[in-house]
Symmetry: C2
């Protein structure tokens, strides 16, 4: 059933400056795509099944451009650390456990179930370097109804022996086996090439992965310019690279040859920013992570103004929560601190810009996704804000901002649709 | 019933560097005060009634040193503004409505109920300048079981006519009438003198309020050095004051003559910091507010290291949430950005420091409050974190950090005790 009508208070971004609001209106979906929003339902759609959500809010599903599934288990813990020590003491220790498929099943089942309950309809997910556990994660994500990219991580150096892959060759071979065993296995779950970050990959591995990418026509996800110490380290490892991103670009992992997401971009130098724009790299802005790991504040307003593609990432577990509502408000908040403390020529992000990044901005990575404009794949979530009592009259726009600022998504959402199919989001809440 | 035993996983701050953890232990309360924590319950307490909270967490109640009750209605909305425009467009517009007692009753009932459900056991609350509505708020707060200070706001300039008080005289007179009508009216609710902030008060009003304070032996709450533009404005209004806080100190509103809370202290200059320390001023650190209004980051680590008294404030509605758990993680997060972007000699706050500020640090304003050390008034909340599934073994300390980072308080708490009396915290959650 991909032909239906939803009724309620409908909001979506048309661009980064404008959220359109249609109170008490009809959203018509035909073959999984929006055909229009109407105050009165036109005659030709009256035969379609209609779900009336009354006074609830209907908005596009959230897009999470950057999340680590195996880190979900330790979110919100061990936060008093910076990137490199956090990786060694927290992330790598936990990720090493995923060689054990039983543990992986326990942990990934929890992750998949929580993602299903969340406001997120599409996500780009890091697994671990383990082939079997990554396929298991893909099986579980397929069952959620979400549309996701999942990456088996590649890393052949600078990690503990029990997590590091033996060598470039075995890393590339495992990756191809993983791709082969998943060929035609899913309808909603897609592989994405995932070199962890430059410090984790030898030149040899990057070269081999370039071949894999070309053969399998894969998109790419990785990390970029997150932390000054990391950047210095990258410079020592890749002395020939003009800048961090240039190290990726040399191997075709920087947007030109393949659709690419780079998480963070907190400290990107001028040349890197220019290249990101030229190549159409997607920035996954992860403000909570950038705070928690003391990385800093990414100049996102500037990226948006320059026309760089930007979406939001929860970056669990460096970010403590999978809530993209939370990522929106975090993004606005840190942009205000950036304006105040770092660069007063870089204005704070507006709510409109944050909502755009969370939906249409990140959605572009998946095609025509993240908006209710005509022809867009219909990803929608339905919010019930009656658990927030208030004494005054409020507009739909005010209720939307409030729902986001209060992370209403964590209280549960009422319904969720992905590409025109309803997804069970079984989190329910009773606030009495 | 103020004599009882609670059993569970008990955590509390002894100082800003140490959280003590007692897994599966007994917390004994006699006449509303902690007498001790025991692994085995001593013989002499075996007759007391015991509540066994099993594997749940038992921690001190949260202390909110700064919250505006009349702003609760518009929390999470209109956030794309800076302090002075936010006051004019949001806060003052809403606060003017509280001349209408019916509206005040609707709005304050919601506020009181939500505070009852929250993790907060003690709070310092701004009302509006309206005497009757302030008394109504006090009646409602008394019924919640929380222990609070509530202030009728004084403001005789720089506000819209419908909110500004007529003159210094009528402001002072109304304040005394308010104090008289509340004399001996409450057991848990106390008045606090509340000149809004220096720009809102003429010299004449401050002089009169000084007399009121002396006559009624009141503590004081106000705002300090929140925003550079505000500070410049204060300098133009009070050319004789050496610094912002000196303007308060001239009238006995800066800790020396009376216990005083100053919210924000983001931009306090050196002399002001010295005076705050000398006078024992309590800083209410409100990190969410300081982000939302683009005020900046307060150097809280430095204040703590210098021995200044610091607690946390939600500062609703400049802060979007009443969650002090959220204030803890916000405090840590912005301190990391301060270290990275502003002053690398000012280390990030630790979880221990944030927990201390949220409990014992702010609690000191109320006496021996905010810890489970012997002789402290027993304020406790009980947390059920079974709604957060996880695959690995976790320590109680890890579960505590996670509960705070995930704002578990917003999902509801299981039980709440204030000075040894149980408070109905009727928010329940069912996460399936």
């Amino acid at each position: 059933m991909k032909n239906f009508v939803l009724k309620g208070n409908i909001c979506y971004s048309v661009n980064k400056s404008e959220i359109k609001v249609f109170p008490d209106s009809y959203l018509v979906c035909i073959e999984g795509k929006t055909v229009g929003i109407f105050e009165e339902l036109p005659q030709q759609y009256k035969e379609l099944s209609l779900v009336d959500y009354g006074d609830k809010l209907i908005i596009p599903g959230m897009i999470d451009l950057h999340i680590h599934a195996p880190q979900y288990a330790f979110r919100g813990m061990g936060m008093d650390l910076e990137l490199m020590e956090w990786l060694q003491q927290q992330a790598f220790v936990e990720e090493a456990k995923y060689s054990d498929l039983d543990y992986a099943r326990d942990a990934y089942s929890i992750f998949a179930k929580q993602m299903q309950k969340s406001a997120t309809t599409r996500a780009c997910i890091f697994a671990t370097r383990h082939r079997k556990a990554t396929t298991l994660l893909m099986d579980l994500m397929e069952d959620t109804g979400l549309i996701t990219y999942v990456g088996k991580v590649n890393m052949d150096r600078e990690a503990p022996q029990n997590l590091c892959e033996k060598d470039a060759d075995s890393s590339a071979t495992e990756t191809m086996e993983w791709l082969e065993e998943n060929r035609s296995r899913y309808t909603r779950t897609m592989p994405i090439l995932t070199p962890r970050f430059l410090p984790s990959c030898t030149n040899e591995l990057l070269e081999k992965l370039q071949g894999v990418r070309e053969e399998y026509h894969l998109p790419v996800q990785s990390h970029l310019s997150e932390n000054p110490e990391e950047i210095t380290f990258v410079k020592s490892l890749f002395p020939d690279a003009g800048f961090y991103g240039d190290g990726y670009d040399k191997y075709g992992f920087f947007g030109k040859e393949a659709k690419t997401i780079m998480a963070h971009c907190v400290w990107s130098e001028e040349e890197e920013v220019v290249r990101m724009k030229q190549n159409g790299v997607f920035v996954a802005h992860c403000p909570a992570s950038n705070m928690n790991l003391s990385s800093g504040i990414a100049p996102i307003k500037r990226y948006l103004d320059e026309g760089i593609k930007v979406g939001l990432g929860s970056d669990v577990a460096a970010g403590q929560s999978e809530s993209i509502f939370r990522a929106m408000t975090d993004a606005i908040q840190v942009s205000k601190l950036y304006w105040r403390h770092v660069d007063s020529s870089c204005k704070p992000l507006t709510f409109e810009e944050a909502f755009y990044m969370a939906t249409k901005g990140g959605g572009e990575f998946f095609g025509n996704v993240g908006s209710f404009e005509e022809g867009y794949e219909l990803d929608a979530i339905v919010l019930d804000d009656t658990c927030i009592p208030y004494p005054q009259e409020l507009s739909v726009r005010q209720r939307l901002e409030r729902a986001v600022y209060l992370s209403l998504d964590l209280m549960g959402i009422c319904a969720k649709y992905v590409a025109g199919e309803e997804v069970k989001c079984c989190r329910t809440h009773v606030l009495t």
